[in-house]
Symmetry: D3
Subunit: 289 residues, 6 copies
């Protein structure tokens, strides 16, 4: 993820919708996670279970990606230093989300673009497979609409890179739940796509991800489990006809950016800690550092 051109508290506040909003990544992560724990009759209906688990596995990485985008957008937005007297956070009284600076160390929290906390009420796990899949299809379409609108609000390249990546991967989840419904009911649900009608191809940053096939590869996030995901995920992509592929294992991640210290927030503090001590302990215990 690139470093922002213009770190901005209000851009960060807007991006929070994709983390902790009703249609944010916390909602997709937790909905699919609970549906996987709660799946009744999984042996009989294994392909559906395997697709839900595969997607649940990916969503953890999505809350990470959104959080890091927020964290980068917030880094350096206040005046660095130890002395409180000049008011190093005084520009923040006009920022939309004060929680980033009071409840957190200029970093992300599970809340939406209005600062409302994510709630378990956003989880849907009703127990009827057809209803759960219909929900998931709707949820991913709603999430896609939110991503498109946040893209249009925030022009910073860090944010747009992250949103575009999520548009591609979330777009794949839309197709996956549509195909699951197709297998279950015989109705050609994939023809409803895209919802909203604007194609991901209208977002320039999505191209390189699509060129790498990220819109057509379903990852299982396990070498051994979820082998039957391929019973649902096969054939051709409804938008460009490319071949759908199941990949056993995790998607290749990017290294987590290292976040600079913000001493005016005492974040992380511990300024006097004796780093040599760590080395001594490590040496004594044979720990590689």
């Amino acid at each position: 993820m690139p470093t922002p051109n213009n770190p901005s508290p209000n851009d960060a506040a807007a991006v929070q919708e994709l983390l902790g909003g009703k249609f944010g990544e916390m909602s997709t992560l937790m909905t699919y996670t609970f549906q996987s724990f709660n799946f009744r009759g999984r042996n009989r209906l294994r392909p559906f279970y395997d697709v839900i688990c595969s997607i649940a596995g990916e969503e953890y990485g999505h809350i990470e990606a959104v959080s890091y985008a927020i964290n980068l957008l917030l880094t350096g937005t206040t005046k660095r230093g130890f002395d409180p007297e000049p008011g190093p956070l005084k520009n923040i009284t006009d920022a939309r989300n004060t929680r980033h600076f009071i409840a957190s160390g200029q970093t992300a929290l599970p809340m939406d673009s209005m600062g409302d906390w994510w709630t378990g009420q956003h989880v849907f796990s009703g127990g009827n497979l057809k209803l759960d899949l219909l929900h998931n299809f709707f949820l991913e379409c709603g999430a896609r609409a939110n991503k498109m609108r946040v893209y249009e609000m925030v022009t910073d390249p860090t944010a747009r890179e992250m949103v575009s990546y999520l548009l591609v991967r979330g777009g794949l989840h839309v197709v996956a739940y549509a195909k699951a419904l197709e297998l279950l009911t015989g109705v050609n649900v994939t023809k409803l796509i895209p919802i909203p009608e604007l194609s991901n191809k209208a977002f320039p940053e999505t191209r390189k991800y699509e060129e790498n096939g990220l819109h057509r590869k379903l990852y299982t996030f396990s070498q051994d489990d979820y082998q039957q995901a391929g019973i649902i995920w096969n054939g051709s992509h409804p938008e460009d006809g490319s071949e759908l592929e199941v990949v056993f294992g995790a998607i290749e991640g990017a290294p987590a950016p290292d976040l600079e210290e913000e001493p005016q927030l005492n974040s992380p503090g511990a300024d006097d800690i004796d780093l040599e001590m760590f080395k001594d302990i490590a040496a004594k215990l044979g720990i590689k550092i």
Copy 2:
């Protein structure tokens, strides 16, 4: 996890506190996860980062364990069958938590023992390392108190097995954050333990876990990352003097129980699906089922 002797909606309702309560596993999971995303100066303070990440990695398995205990306690508590006319859920009007039967298919949701949804407000990620560690130490002690009280409320062996396992592992997390504070400040925080004063050894089901060393082994949930956790996690256990050990990789899990179908809830439904179709597709695509 054993099958319950007496499945019970109200036992399940009580156990929800350990999943979605203020001190439940959703809170520990999400607090440590966000602290890991939000860690400023991680290179300088790597051992602390590595311990937080290691524990965050384990908490995912804890929401799974609590969810399965709830699901087993709920399975079979209504009258099985397809016909709504006789009122197969009529005993549920007196149950404490109707969400298990209306919003879910007799399964767990991220809420507490009063049916209140888990909220992101329970996440603490303040950015000052000393404060975050102090919080985590308090959170784990509070979580331990909750587990002890739920153990005393629910005598079913399924629930007690799960709670006892969590008492042992959560007990280790108490020690880990105490030791992190000790390394950071030089204060012998481990001597505050146990909080509350009752030892885990008073809970009979904990014994076999302690005999297997589960109270003294910190897992990193990664082969390569978090090597410096050992700079904090070393020496002897404050209660029994056993040797603390870091294990690189994941804790060995138990197989997830298969949940029986509950047709009166149409859960999972899909009763007419043609299972041969799955086999045909699998055969055609070379998928092993």
Copy 3:
């Protein structure tokens, strides 16, 4: 609506889910109402607007029907009389929902089966027509699942009569949104029905309503407006092939039951009011009473 055989606070508490739950009638009423206020480009897309408005018009009657069922289930559940000393509400300390007896006069409030207040967060009005229709289709399917489960919990005939009526009319709304999506996209969404798979025909009390054609008649709740609803609502019903029909005007209602007084709650109180005074005023002003 018949008078209950066995008035019951806990039955009433369960039925509240259909009034103020996430998938209750408050949610359908308010979602379609706001979608009608917020509809952009209504001249271009009039048939969709007209269907949404027609259904919104009906939902007001649904919150009324559920409320009266709750009120009847609650009437007479405490010991009638003016004297507080014997504790006329003492059986209520064990009831699940104390709000019916403290915050209200043994009557309904906009809350769910756990006593959680209905919230505007349950309204979805995203602005993209395809997404809004997909949402509405999902919402009605979820609402249908809730009704089925409440039917199975509450065997009282008052409640079942009301739930069955709503199953029929809500079932029509499912079809209406499916057909709207079909017109918009060409995808045969009606073939997904029923969700969950159990047919309304499994609920005996629905029969007389279906015999009266209530599962196939869309009411516009206006003589003049919403004429283009028929562009969507035409053809045959996906379950029984009967002919779909648009009726201009309101559905014929049942008279609202008169609720007995509950003096132990001082509800309504005003015991000493001089009823002759009303007659005198009426006579003087020429008001017919």
Copy 4:
């Protein structure tokens, strides 16, 4: 309603208080609606029931009026077009209420001026008539104070026209509940008016409505029901001595403004739909369009 001179997201955000705030129109609508469903002893106390029902009937039109004012204030506040790349919503990162642009298509939702969702907790239906009337009198006075303050915040003529209309009609509701209390108790409650002390006559836009008698005509919103409202609503207005009048039927409404499309939000989308198809279907079925 006139078109705004200066559409403004923050003006729209302020006006939301009158829709979804504690004292907003959702609260008055739903409080009187539930009081009407929950009225015990309605035959004995018919005049009170009839007044509550008459006012409840009017409040639906009030949520509509506030919503349209918000919608007009929001229309055109972002840059119109299909291409997301230039960031057509980028000015919105500084707007107070991002929900108008992410969760909705630049339109109203049931929330207050802080973006907090309206909740059923704002409904009061306690069951004791004297207490309910006292509540309603207070609620209308509180609502009046809110309207006055929002008028002072938002100078746009669209908003002020709507607020002034509501000041007049809400002012009538204040008087109606005062008179109901007078009939019930003999206390001259109308002499407490106005609360707050500033007269509606200080708001220039109210004049034409008062000249049309809208401050003295109670509408029943039904030709046949609620005939006994006149037992309460008679005599002279406490502020200007004009004659109070009951009108059987609905208040004459203004046509709903047509809301322009906002393509950058894909609202409503459906850009490729074949409008001829509608005409063909209509022609075939004999539907007038």
Copy 5:
């Protein structure tokens, strides 16, 4: 306060409404407290300020009284002892409010009878004196209705003693705000009393408090401040004509009951503490114990 005949978790749960409900003592305490902090023009309008402050001062004692009643009702409801194995809290799985036993040590928390947390949203401090006084009058009437209903639910003498005391003192607050409105407006608001119509004299336990004049003495909770309360609080009581009296200073309290330990909850724990140590320290420092 007497010790309960029958300690009962569900009685305690019901009484919580009077502590943390919308109309509970937290609401009256905090509303009047904030009105006192926020009073504009207090020099000009001193008598009103002095009455609000006097009543605010009393409400602190009311949250104490309700809390102790709850605490006594909860004491001894679980099986005392240190050993968790027999499940000393197992009867609690069926109790309505599990928070008393998990989040607290069988004691009160600021929540209502449904376990919903008290919220600052219940505070009304609008700034217009007439509106604030009208609110307070309504709030006290609503609080009175709640007390009457809880009295009818809970027959235990501990609870009834406390509720009756609050009926008397809350009844005085009703009169005080009515008289404040009378002074401000000239309208004889006290004639609306009682709301609901049932007199406090119907509650036998209120008699001794009324005989002691507690229904006619306004306490200022200060020797020096709030002298002008008497400009409002004078004349005769609207119900029995007794003389209203201002008392400078605090109301005489009862000693706080000592709460027994509940070792099965580790409450308070600290079983091994060396009490001699306290004595030694006290002796050394000259502290009287």
Copy 6:
């Protein structure tokens, strides 16, 4: 408290965090208050009870201090006058917290810096003494971090004076709970201080308070009770070695500022009231005014 140089709605909005935030003064006040009501075994563990009660007694003054700072920051931020026509609040549409101007008369409410209401969920009263003390120690450290950050956001001298006073007194509470834990466990918890690491001495306005010994004097807020607080509060201060002292009685307060009227908000209104009438009544009744 000095009058602000630059009254500012957004400064006031930020300061609300210290009143109604998770770590605000409402939380400390109510947590210690409930812990004092709920203390089991108080005779055995009197010194701990006495310290908790002493600190609870002080927190009431802290909600007052923060409220007045907010009220002063808000006074005069809108255009004074009676006429609504010019829009005297029009600058407020861009303010972060509209509640100060709609729900209140430009004054404080129990909410946080995002306008979220304070909730009873922030109260912790678990019943195990060691856990409660650990919580309180953490809570005060978290509150301290919040104060430091708000100080850095708001440079106005009114706010800073108030925050600095609270830093000193809150700093004393940190030490008090640390010392209580030390007495209970023997662990030198005070050596963890300060958390965060920045000393109060970095805040210039704290100096005069420390010179007056306000960082070392624990007040009991009672002449007679809480004598055993000294068993915990003795010895020397961990930061500067000064002598810790218990003072029996209340801390000396500053006079409450008189808040100017804001007629454009009709706050307080009552403009025509006859002040002579007050004097007449007072004279007749012998009340000194």
